[in-house]
């Protein structure tokens, strides 16, 4: 009987703890990991920070793309292929272009990314084939297209264009790649979040039936999500060109599953309707930092994948545990 007073107290605590961890846990974990890195590797300096930012930039875009789609209740297994297409396309088109022309071509690639994403959304909506199947299939197609555009790694872009992301214009402790990461994700996400579109995405992902009955066109909402995801993927492909300097038709494939991993670790609920952008971007940084730390520790960097997998299981289990405790009350 005496426990009656304590029970709601405990559930309220759990609720707020769960909320805080989901919203801000990943940036905190990442900060902790950076500090830990500085401890185990006293020489950790601005150069390491730069390579971290460069390495994480395309993954952050991929994570953002995946997060948008997953929030709306879908999943996009063509993220890697769309990044590959944008990567080789930009590297091939920009190889002999001037800086100004490159900027224009970058916009073109973003538009193409939007079209690829929209194709995923429209196919899912019209054919009613499950999104996993549709995006897996289109992923194969775009992967082939990437090989047609550029058979082997090559191409390039003007140095000024590469320096947008690869350079250091402000401080050696604040590489451009960080700024590009934050600005691009914000440019894609803030308009969504502040408009009706964001509402549609969360509603469609959270409870499609209730959303439909509230007057939401679910097909439109999902197609929008895939379209924005396509734009983010194209940005990721361009970022890959900027950070590597070339186009590589097979380099993109890594990003499909890593984007899902970053989204999930970043607190996006796989069943849809919950999550944001801060978590997935921080998770992308974390997933890039882990293999670096392993090198510092003289551990085989291939353990990175093992750790990444373990992290996903732990994060998902923890989320499930919190939900379970809330339900039990």
């Amino acid at each position: 009987m005496s426990a009656a007073g304590a029970a709601p107290e405990r559930s309220r605590w759990l609720k707020s703890a769960g909320k805080q961890i989901r919203e801000f846990g990943m940036p905190l974990v990442f900060t902790a990991c950076i500090l830990a890195t500085a401890l185990i590797h006293p020489n950790f300096g601005s150069f390491d920070l730069q390579s971290l930012a460069l390495g994480a930039l395309p993954l952050a875009m991929a994570a953002a793309a995946q997060a948008i789609v997953v929030i709306s209740g879908g999943i996009d297994l063509s993220v890697g292929s769309m990044i590959a297409v944008s990567n080789v396309l930009s590297a091939r088109l920009m190889q002999h272009a001037s800086f100004e022309e490159s900027l224009g071509l970058a916009v073109l690639v973003l538009v193409i990314g939007a079209l690829l994403g929209a194709a995923n959304g429209i196919l899912t909506a019209i054919t009613r084939i499950p999104d996993v199947v549709v995006t897996l299939t289109t992923g194969f197609i775009w992967g082939g297209v990437a090989l047609l555009i550029l058979e082997r790694p090559g191409g390039g872009a003007p140095a000024e264009f590469l320096n947008i992301a690869a350079g250091i214009d402000f401080s050696e402790w604040l590489p451009n790649a960080f700024i590009v990461m934050v600005v691009v994700v914000a440019l894609i996400w803030i308009p969504i979040r502040c408009s009706r579109i964001g509402l549609l995405l969360y509603a469609a992902g959270s409870d499609p039936v209730a959303a439909f009955r509230s007057g939401v066109n679910i097909n439109v909402a999902r197609t929008l999500a895939y379209t924005f995801g396509g734009v983010a993927c194209a940005a990721g492909g361009i970022a890959l060109t900027m950070t590597t300097g070339i186009g590589a038709p097979l380099a993109g494939t890594y990003y499909t599953l890593s984007s899902v991993a970053a989204a999930v670790i970043g607190g996006v609920r796989l069943s849809g309707g919950h999550g944001g952008m801060v978590g997935p971007v921080a998770a992308a940084l974390l997933l890039t930092l882990i293999p670096m730390d392993l090198i510092f520790l003289n551990i085989d960097p291939n353990y990175g994948q093992v750790i990444q997998g373990t992290l996903i299981v732990l994060v998902v289990m923890f989320g499930g545990f919190i939900t379970l405790m809330q339900k039990r009350k």
Binding site: R196, D207, A210, G215, V216
Partner: protein, 501 residues
């Protein structure tokens, strides 16, 4: 122009089928401006389907909808809303991960208007920035109602709006509905609670088997409405009355096959107690959503009860999993055959699954023994085995028999049958009744929920009626004519008693 200017909504001959199941054959509904119109009908009569067609959730196969003199077709709830028809569904159309305010924006409803209607309903203390999923279910339904009112429709449809509400909130809802009527707009009111319908509604349209069978004034016409819902089946069923054996020796023999004490499950089931003796078939009757699903799920170990206990042969059973209940001899034949069967596999695998489910040994399956056992059960139930390789090619009746055959092959003490004859042809139904009697005759017991009231007299020894998560009546099969069952299922006895005080 016709002179139908008083008619706000005129629906004629609406039909709808889902695959081979006909939900509506020819539903008519006329709603006048400024009236509260009740839509009545037994389970499966087609009320919900009609509501969903009117609001554009499903397209109709035939018939027409005339709104304010103009024929209309809505392809989505959004279109219906624009035309002035808004529905409050049984499960609130509120997205759980958005805040209340965001939900209002989602439906493009002005927040000030929602606040005003929430105030009228007495729920203006709800924090609009709260996540909708964290709000109490009853309050959520009222928020859904507030939103519907705030969008200012000409026709408001309320599907079982009072089902989850405490009495004081129901009264507020009724006050709002009456005010709504005063302003010359209409309400289509769906409720199983006859007393509410009589007190609140002007006229009622009654559906039976997907057809409109009558329209009547509601004042003092409760009995007429119940009779219309029943139809002529009463006479038919009486003619096919079956010979029933006397139930096995009563109580004295000791432990009941199944005893349920004060079982509760959330809001749905609020303390139900009964016994089923060995050799007895106990019928359960209830309208939709009166706690029967929860009762069967809790007894079968599909979900955990929040209170009370279940005793199998006198031994308390704490089932954490259906396997525990099966171990104790309680086996479930669920309403949805898809839940029970492996559609892509053969009859034999499906029947044998229950015996193999326990994984008693890791030795290879003894095929010959399995075959004999399965064949015996299949023969006993006269299952049509022409399409035995893949279960989904079997008719619904034969699939249902496979579910029962599975338990016959594995052995059980109490069979929990949830609406086993839904959507099954009459011949197979008779076979299933006969089988249930046979099972009882051999000393096992059966708990049978049915939505077809004549079955109580055909197959059961006793019946209990659930209403609002409690037992509202108990009667022997001889007393259980459809009128008494239906009255009890509508909670009418209770209401009458309350009025007498």
């Amino acid at each position: 122009m016709t002179t139908n200017e008083k008619l706000l909504l005129n629906i004629g001959g609406v039909a709808k089928r889902f695959g081979s199941v006909v939900a509506l054959r020819g539903a008519d509904l006329e709603v006048r401006a400024g009236e509260v119109h009740a839509l009545m009908g037994a389970n499966g009569a087609g009320k919900s389907t009609l509501v969903k067609i009117i609001t554009g959730v499903y397209p109709a196969d035939g018939g027409q909808i005339v709104l304010d003199g103009k024929p209309v077709v809505f392809r989505s709830p959004a279109e219906a809303r624009k035309a002035g028809i808004v529905s409050v569904y049984q499960d609130p159309a509120i997205v759980p991960d958005l805040t209340v305010a965001q939900n209002m924006r989602l439906a493009r409803v002005p927040i000030e208007a929602v606040r005003a209607s929430m105030k009228k309903l007495g729920i203006d203390n709800v924090d609009l920035s709260k996540r909708a999923g964290d709000i109490d279910f009853a309050i959520l339904r009222l928020i859904d109602l507030s939103r519907a009112i705030a969008s200012n429709p000409s026709i408001l449809m309320l599907d079982e709006i009072t089902a989850a509400l405490p009495a004081d909130l129901s009264d507020r809802v009724f006050a709002v509905i009456r005010e709504w009527r005063e302003s010359g707009r209409s309400v289509i009111f769906i409720s199983h609670r006859m007393a509410e319908v009589g007190a609140l509604c002007d006229r009622a349209t009654v559906l039976r088997d997907g057809v409109t069978v009558g329209v009547t004034q509601t004042k003092g016409a409760e009995a007429t409405i119940v009779n219309m819902m029943l139809g002529e089946e009463v006479a038919k069923a009486a003619a096919t009355h079956h010979e029933r054996q006397a139930p096995a020796a009563s109580g004295a023999s000791g432990d009941a096959a199944l005893e349920v004490r004060n079982l509760a499950c959330g809001h749905a089931l609020r303390g139900v107690s009964f016994r089923v003796e060995p050799g007895e078939v106990l019928g359960v009757v209830a309208l939709e959503g009166q706690g029967q699903e929860e009762l069967f799920d809790c007894v079968a170990g599909v979900r955990r009860a929040t209170g009370g206990e279940v005793l199998a042969r006198g031994k308390p059973l704490r089932a954490r999993h259906p396997a525990d209940a099966i171990q104790a001899g309680l086996v479930l034949v669920p309403a949805n055959r898809l839940q029970a069967l492996l559609q892509q596999r053969s009859i034999r695998e499906n029947v044998a699954l229950a015996t193999l489910g326990g994984m008693k040994g890791w030795l290879p399956i003894r095929m010959e023994e399995e075959r004999q056992r399965v064949d015996k059960a299949v023969r006993r139930l006269q299952i049509d085995t022409r399409a035995s390789a893949e279960l989904r090619r079997l008719s619904g009746g034969n699939q249902q028999k496979v579910v029962i055959a599975r338990w016959l092959a594995s052995g059980f003490r109490t069979l929990l049958c949830f609406d086993p004859t839904r959507g099954i042809d009459i011949g197979t139904k008779q076979q299933i009744y006969a089988l249930l009697r046979e099972i009882a005759g051999q000393g096992a017991s059966v708990l049978l929920f049915t939505s077809e009231l004549p079955e109580i007299r055909l197959a059961c020894d006793r019946a209990i009626v659930l209403f609002g998560g409690r037992i509202s009546a108990q009667m022997s099969a001889d007393e259980a004519d459809e009128a008494s069952l239906l009255h009890a299922a509508h909670g009418l006895d209770a209401a009458a008693r309350m009025e007498a005080h």
